[in-house]
Structure formats: structure tokens, C-alpha cells
């Protein structure tokens, strides 16, 4: 198993340690996961899959909770910001 995983967040390459969640990659690359309907930036609050604030699109699938999904090589992650 490699020590590092490279994926893309909003088209930008980002490298995280193996075993890190997508939320980590998003924090490094974009700073926040999504914007609320009133335009506020949102990110992981609970870190345990309850608050749904860390949702991103992963490989085309919307509303994935980035704090619950491990980063994988070549993942395409999109924030809506």
C-alpha cells in the first residue's frame, strides 16, 4: 500500500497520506466543502457523518459525506464553491 494518495479536488491535484479521508484532501485543496443555499462556506463540523455539512461530489455522485470516505487514487472530487 502506498504511503500517499493523489486525487483531484475541483480539478486541482492534491496529495494526502494513505488512510486520510476526502475531507482532508478538500481542506488542503479548497478550504471548504460546499456553500449553503445562502452562500455560506460549509465544512466538516461533526467529523462523524451526522451533520452532513461536509458533502461533496465524488466521481459524479452528489452529496457524499467527505468525512466518511477515504481518499482514493484518481478520485474526482468537486465542491460546489
Amino acid at each position: 500500500m502506498p504511503d500517499q494518495v493523489q486525487l483531484r479536488v475541483d480539478g486541482k491535484a492534491v496529495t494526502v497520506p494513505a488512510g486520510a479521508t476526502v475531507a482532508v484532501a478538500v481542506a488542503l485543496a479548497a478550504g471548504f466543502c460546499r456553500r449553503s443555499i445562502t452562500g455560506e462556506p460549509r465544512g466538516p463540523v461533526c467529523g462523524m457523518g451526522i451533520c452532513f455539512e461536509c458533502r461533496v461530489m465524488i466521481n459524479g455522485e452528489p452529496h457524499c459525506r467527505s468525512c466518511q470516505i477515504l481518499a482514493e487514487a484518481n478520485m474526482d472530487v468537486r465542491t460546489n464553491g
Binding site: I37, F52, E61, P62, H63
Partner: protein
């Protein structure tokens, strides 16, 4: 205690009562609207808000189509929060026998002046790519629309108030009797006419009314813009709506302006508790996944229930009640009250001012329930 005097008191501030109050106040009647809860807080808030022409019977077609035309006339005045969107209805045929029904329906609507189009399997797949690709086809009814009903009720009540109507919320009506309306808090109204538009609560005030609560479930999803673009209903929907005894589910999905989707539908008699029924809910969702497999991967935010006011002959009760000469009924709209509210109010107002109605009122007259008893 003092008595409040009005030309008309409307009991119930759901969409039907709201529309009646609006219409009567625009006929220059001095109107009061009374509701124990909120404006648009009962079945009005629980339902989908589908403005739809239906062909279960000639009478139902006439009332739903007439009402839909009134919504189209009203549309320029509706505020943005009513979210009126003419997304059209797709009646989906799962197989060839249902496709025959599509053809029949197309002809039926066409003969009555409503343009629809028949979609082949390929055309349907292009319009709604998330639907299972092996559907036989569909009927597109382009003038059907969706709205957000609680805001529509609020708008209609506000318009009634602009014409002088007064709204009394939070007081439960205890009794309606010959133009007198008594609330449990002691408030008393006296009116030339009283309109019982209390939905499933109507029989508690007009005791011989045969209206049963018919429970329904809905689910709302997170935002998935353009996941579906039309209100999509299985053609078997009427079979579900028809079933008089058994619990039934039918696939019915609606895109909201927010990108969310409402997923329905279920129908249950004899279920008097408002709790979500897990077995019915899962049956309802499985049915939806059969039509749109991708729905199974969407997030649901909330599930809830509501109660439709169902009559034995599946038509609403609109007009004078033979047992009380000052009482008019506007209830029993089952799952079509959002659509038919405006037509109901127009029929009622025409009756009150003695004008010739634009559609035949007879099929909806409450007196028919007495005739049924005679023939039974």
C-alpha cells in the same frame, strides 16, 4: 359574550377554505376565516402540490381542468415563493397494455381540448434519462404544473384579506348550526352562510358527512437538480387511488424548484395515527426504485404523513348541505384539493350569488349523498 357578525364564515384555512374565502370576499361578502391551526397547515402542507388534469370520471376531468385553467389565469399574480412551475406530467407506461392506456388517455384529453403527446420508449428515455430504460412509453401532459401549497394558501388568504376578509387562527370550532359558529374558546360568529371546508375534520362539525381520512406518505430528498424534470407518475396510479380497502402504493415523483424531489405515494384507510409506517414507506420507496433505480442512491431528508379527505364516490362535496340551509360544504377533495381548490371556490361563489357556473355543479352537490342512501 359578543357575537361577531359576517356575511360568510369559512371554517378551515387550508387551500380549499382559503380559495373559498378569497372568492366570496371578491363577491363583496364580508368574510371571516377560522382555523384551529395555521393557514395551509393540514393536508395542504402535507401534499405534493401537483396541478393536474385527471380523467377518473367526466366530472373529475371537468373540475380538474377548469381549476387548472384558473391556476393558469392566477399565475401572473402568484408570488415567487409559490414556486409555480409548469413542468408537465409524464404518465409512464411500464408495458404494452399500459401503452394502450396511454393512447386512450391521449384521445380522451384531446377530445376535451387538452393537448398531450405520446412518447415512445426512446423519446421518454431522452426526456427522463434516470427512468428505467425499458419503459414502454409515456403520455406527456404539458400544462400540468407544480406549486408549493402552503405558500399558495397564504397568498390566497392574504388576497382575501385585501378584500376585507378577517382571519381567526388558533380557535377550534365546536359547532356549526344554522349560521352560527361556536368556538371552544367561547367566541361566537353569526353568518348568513357558513362554509365547512375543514377537510378530514369536516364530519366532526357536520355529523352525517361520509368522509374518511386516507393516509399518505411522502419523502423529500436532498437537492439533485435536473435528476428528473417532470412530475412522473405510473399509469397504475389510478389503480392505487381506486382501491377502496387495501393499502396501496404507486410511483409518483415530483421535482421541486430547489432541486429536491418529493417521492410518493401511499394510500391507507383506517390508519388514524400520523406516525410514519415503516412497512408502507419501504413499499412506497421500493416501487419508486423500480421506476428510477438511481433514486435508491439519493439522500432522503425527511418522511412524513398526511390525511386526504376521501368520499365514497371519489368526488368532492361542493355546495349546499340539505340538512342546514345556511351551510355550504367544500370538502372531500381526497388527493386533488390543491388543483381543485380554485374550481371549488368558483362553483361555491356562483351558487351564492346565483350566477350560472362555468362547469356543471350537479356531480359535486352534497345532496347526492342522500340519493345514494335512498338507492342503497
Amino acid at each position: 359574550m359578543s357575537v361577531r357578525v359576517y356575511d360568510a364564515v369559512v371554517v378551515g384555512a387550508g387551500i380549499v377554505g382559503a380559495a373559498c374565502a378569497d372568492r366570496l370576499s371578491r363577491e363583496h361578502l364580508n368574510v371571516a376565516i377560522v382555523d384551529r391551526g395555521l393557514v395551509g397547515g393540514g393536508a395542504t402542507a402535507a401534499g405534493m402540490g401537483h396541478i393536474v388534469t385527471m380523467d377518473d370520471s367526466e366530472a373529475q376531468f371537468a373540475l380538474t381542468r377548469f381549476s387548472q385553467q384558473l391556476w393558469i389565469e392566477l399565475r401572473p399574480e402568484l408570488p415567487a415563493d409559490v414556486e409555480y412551475r409548469q413542468c408537465g406530467t409524464l404518465w409512464v407506461a411500464a408495458d404494452e397494455p399500459e401503452m394502450q392506456e396511454v393512447i386512450r388517455k391521449h384521445r380522451y384529453y384531446g377530445e376535451r381540448g387538452v393537448a398531450t403527446s405520446i412518447l415512445t420508449r426512446m423519446e421518454l428515455a431522452e426526456l427522463e434519462p434516470k427512468l428505467r430504460p425499458d419503459m414502454a412509453g409515456a403520455l406527456l401532459v404539458p400544462e400540468d404544473a407544480v406549486i408549493y401549497p402552503p405558500c399558495a394558501a397564504r397568498f390566497v388568504v392574504a388576497r382575501a384579506e385585501q378584500h376585507g376578509a378577517e382571519t381567526f387562527l388558533g380557535g377550534t370550532v365546536e359547532r356549526i348550526d344554522n349560521g352560527s359558529v361556536l368556538l371552544t374558546n367561547g367566541t361566537r360568529f353569526s353568518a348568513g352562510i357558513v362554509v365547512n371546508a375543514a377537510g378530514i375534520a369536516a364530519p366532526a362539525l357536520t355529523s352525517t358527512l361520509d368522509i374518511k381520512p386516507r393516509k399518505g406518505h411522502l419523502v423529500i430528498t436532498d437537492r439533485y437538480p435536473d435528476f428528473v424534470r417532470h412530475q412522473i407518475v405510473e399509469l397504475g396510479y389510478l389503480k392505487s387511488a381506486h382501491s377502496v380497502t387495501a393499502d396501496s402504493v404507486a410511483f409518483n415523483v415530483q421535482p421541486r424548484a430547489t432541486g429536491q424531489m418529493l417521492i410518493g405515494s401511499s394510500r391507507q384507510y383506517g390508519a388514524d395515527h400520523s406516525q410514519v409506517d415503516d412497512i408502507i414507506l419501504s413499499r412506497m420507496l421500493r416501487r419508486a426504485f423500480e421506476y428510477i433505480p438511481g433514486l435508491a442512491r439519493t439522500s432522503a431528508l425527511r418522511a412524513w404523513t398526511g390525511f386526504r379527505a376521501a368520499t365514497p364516490d371519489k368526488l368532492p362535496l361542493i355546495g349546499p348541505w340539505p340538512e342546514d340551509r345556511r351551510l355550504l360544504l367544500a370538502t372531500g377533495h381526497e388527493g386533488l384539493g390543491i388543483t381543485t381548490s380554485l374550481g371549488t371556490a368558483a362553483l361555491l361563489a356562483d351558487h351564492v350569488v346565483g350566477r350560472t357556473p362555468r362547469i356543471q355543479p350537479e356531480p359535486f352537490l352534497p345532496a347526492r349523498t342522500f340519493l345514494e342512501h335512498v338507492h342503497a
